[in-house]
Symmetry: C2
Subunit: 350 residues, 2 copies
DNA sequence: ATTAAGATCTTAATTGATTAAGAGCGCGGA
DNA sequence: TCCGCGCTCTTAATCAATTAAGATCTTAAT
C-alpha cells in the first residue's frame, strides 16, 4: 500500500499494465466494463493517476517553460517592468497549456543545479549579466532558448528593444529642450552592490549588456550635442527603489553647477529623483527636467519616459518558444516610444 | 547523432552506462583519467547532461513546487496582494532550491490536464472557488498540499487570516465612528462576470469562501450595531481595478440617502471609490469614509485598511510544503491588523 | 462453412537515468 | 606466498509509464 502504480492495479485485476494505461489515456481502446472496473480498483487502491514524471519521460515533453531571472524573485517582483513582462509570458504559456517553471537563481550564490535539473521543454532567459554561469548551463541543455533584453547570444532568438536608440532618444529629448547640464542616475549596471559616483571606465565595464547599450545611447546623444561626457555626473545605484532614486537625486542636485536635466534608467528611480527635487523645493519642469524609462510607473506621476512593450515582449518570447515553428527569428527588436509628459520642459535660462 | 544519452557515450568508450553516470553524479567513484575521457566524449557528442526527467523519475523528486491560482496569470499579477504573496512563496522556494511551477488555469475553461501532468513535489493552492475541478485534481495527486485563503480542505494545512473577524473589525471601525449609512463594494464573489447590485441571497451564495467570511464579518458587525443589513446597498464588481471601484463608488454615492461610509474588499477598489468621491467633490473623511482591504496599495493614498501579512503567508505556505517536517499544522491563522489612516473619520452630523 | 473485419487485450520494446552489490586487480603486510 | 583491502568499474534491478504490433475472440457477410 506504499506505492500504487499501474502495475498494482493490473495485478489486482489480472490484466496487463498496458490495459490499465489505456484505461486512463485512451478509454476508447477498452470495453466499458473493464474500464470501469479498472477505475474502481484504482480508486479503491488510492491510485494517484499516471505518474507525470514517467509520462513525461516516455512522451519526451515536460509541459513546462523554464524562466530564468537574474534577480531574486522577491526582488524581481518588486519591479513593475518584470511583472508586465511576466504577464505577457504567462499569457503565452496559458494559451499553449504549459506551465511556467520559475527557477531560483539566488543573487551572489552562483549554483545552478536548478537549471540542470529543471524539467522543461524550453528556456526563457531574462536579463542575465555577462558571463553568468547559469547561461552556460542553459545552453548546455541544448533546448530551445530565447533571450530577453540581455545578453545577446548568437544563434538564439533575442527579443528586446533597440537600447542604444532608446537611450539616445531620451537624451536627445532634453538636449533638444536646450539642456546642457545633464545628470544621470542608473541602476543595474554591476552586481557588486556599489552605490555612488561612477566614472566612464566603470560605466563601460557594466555587466549588463542592455544597460550598457542604453547608456551608450545617452552618451552618443550628449556628445553629438557637444556635451563633454566625462563631465556628466553619473550616479550609480545598487537597488531599483524610489528611495534609491531620491538618494541619487540629492547627490546629483547638490552638485555645482546643478544639473537641469536628469536621465534615469527606470521609472521608479525617476520618481525618487522627483522626490529629491520636491525636498529641495525645485520646480519641475521649470528648474529641473526628469526622464524615466520603461513607462511602468510613470503615467500618474506625469513622467516623461521611454515606453517599452513590456507585456508584448513577454508574450512574443513565449510564442517563439511554444509555437513549434522551426524558423525562429534571430533578433527581434520591438518598437519603443518616447512619451513626453510634464516632467520635462525647456531648459531654464542661465 | 539525433539523441545522445549516457549509453551513447558509454558505447563510444566501451564502458558501462553506470560508469558514465558516475562521471556526472559521483566523480569520486572514478579514476581521473577515465572521468576526463568521458567528459571529453560527452562534449564531443554534444551530450546535454543527464536527462532531468529520467533523473527525476529515478530519484522520486521533481524539484518543483506547483502553484495554482484561480485567475489568469496576467490578471493575478495585476493584483498587489497576489504579487506580495508570490514574493513570499518564491523566497521559500529559493531557500529550498526548488523551482516554482505556475500552472495555468484559464478562467472559464475548466480543463485541468496541467494539474494532472505537473511534475512537482507538492502543491500550493490559492483562492480557488468552491467546487473548482482543479482542486479535486490536485487532491487526486495525493501530494502534499497547502491551501491559502480558500477553500479550507479538512486534512490539509491551511494558511490565511481570520476573515470574519477582519471583516467585522473593518465594519466596526466605521460603526464606532458613528456611521450608520453603510455601503459595500466587493469584488471576487462569483465567477459569472456580473457587475451590479447584489441582494443578500446573491451575497450568501458567493463562490469564494474567504470573501463570504469577510462579508459575514461586515454583516455581523453591522447587525450588532443595529444596522439592517438588507437595506445596506451592496455593489458587486467583476474586476478588481481602480476603474471598477470608481464605478461602484458612483453607484453607491448616487443613492439617496447617500452612504457616509463605504467598505471595500480590496485597496484597489477603495482607491476607485475615492476617485468617485473626488468626482463628486465629496470631502474625505468629512463627508465620506472609505475602508480598503489588504494594505497592498493603501499607504500613499492614506487609506484605512486591514493589513494582511501577505508575504509572510506565502513564505509560510512554502515552508510548510518544503520543510519536510511531517507534523503539518491544520489551520494556520495569521494575524491581521486594522490600519487607520486618513480615509475614515467621524460620521457627519445628519 | 469460410473469411474478413472489428473489438479487445497482451507482449515487449522503449524512454534515460541511479545505485546497491559484486567482480577483478594491484599492492602492502605477515 | 597468501590474504585482505581499496580502488575501479560492471551487472542488473529499478523508477513508472506509453504504444506499435500481435494475439484472440466475436460477429457478420458471402
Amino acid at each position: 500500500m506504499t506505492k500504487v502504480t499501474l502495475q498494482t492495479i493490473a495485478d489486482r485485476l489480472g490484466v496487463s499494465r498496458a490495459t490499465v494505461s489505456y484505461a486512463f489515456s485512451r478509454p476508447d481502446q477498452l470495453s466499458d466494463g473493464l474500464r470501469q472496473r479498472i477505475m474502481e480498483v484504482a480508486d479503491e487502491l488510492g491510485y494517484a493517476g499516471p505518474n507525470p514524471t514517467a509520462r513525461s519521460l516516455r512522451l519526451g515533453r515536460a509541459g513546462a517553460l523554464g524562466l530564468l531571472f537574474s534577480e531574486t524573485l522577491a526582488y524581481a517582483f518588486a519591479d513593475p517592468y518584470a511583472i508586465a513582462f511576466f504577464q505577457g509570458l504567462a499569457t503565452a504559456a496559458e494559451d499553449a497549456g504549459v506551465g511556467l517553471l520559475i527557477l531560483p537563481l539566488p543573487h551572489g550564490d552562483r549554483r545552478t543545479e536548478t537549471v540542470r535539473d529543471a524539467v522543461v521543454d524550453a528556456f526563457c532567459v531574462v536579463s542575465l549579466p555577462d558571463g553568468h554561469p547559469a547561461l552556460a548551463e542553459v545552453l548546455a541543455r541544448k533546448l530551445p532558448v530565447v533571450v530577453v533584453d540581455e545578453p545577446y547570444v548568437p544563434g538564439h532568438p533575442f527579443v528586446g528593444i533597440d537600447e542604444p536608440r532608446a537611450g539616445a532618444e531620451a537624451a536627445a529629448h532634453v538636449l533638444g529642450l536646450g539642456h546642457r547640464r545633464i545628470g544621470v542616475a542608473m541602476v543595474g549596471l554591476h552586481e557588486d552592490g556599489h552605490t555612488g559616483w561612477a566614472d566612464t571606465a566603470r560605466q563601460e565595464s557594466a555587466a549588463f549588456e542592455a544597460m550598457r547599450g542604453r547608456l551608450r545611447g545617452y552618451r552618443t546623444a550628449c556628445e553629438q550635442a557637444g556635451v563633454d561626457w566625462a563631465a556628466v555626473p553619473f550616479f550609480e545605484l545598487a537597488r531599483n527603489s524610489r528611495e534609491a532614486g531620491r538618494r541619487a537625486g540629492h547627490a546629483l542636485l547638490d552638485r555645482d553647477p546643478r544639473p537641469t536635466a536628469i536621465l534615469t534608467n527606470t521609472d521608479v528611480l525617476a520618481l525618487g529623483v522627483l522626490d529629491a527635487a520636491a525636498d529641495l523645493g525645485l520646480d519641475v519642469p521649470g528648474e529641473l527636467s526628469v526622464v524615466g524609462f520603461s513607462d511602468s510607473a510613470a503615467e500618474e506621476a506625469g513622467l516623461t519616459t521611454i515606453r517599452q512593450p513590456k507585456q508584448e515582449i513577454g508574450e512574443i518570447a513565449g510564442r517563439i518558444l511554444l509555437s513549434g515553428v522551426a524558423a525562429k527569428p534571430e533578433r527581434l527588436t520591438l518598437p519603443h516610444e518616447l512619451i513626453v509628459r510634464g516632467s520635462t520642459g525647456p531648459a531654464p535660462l542661465p
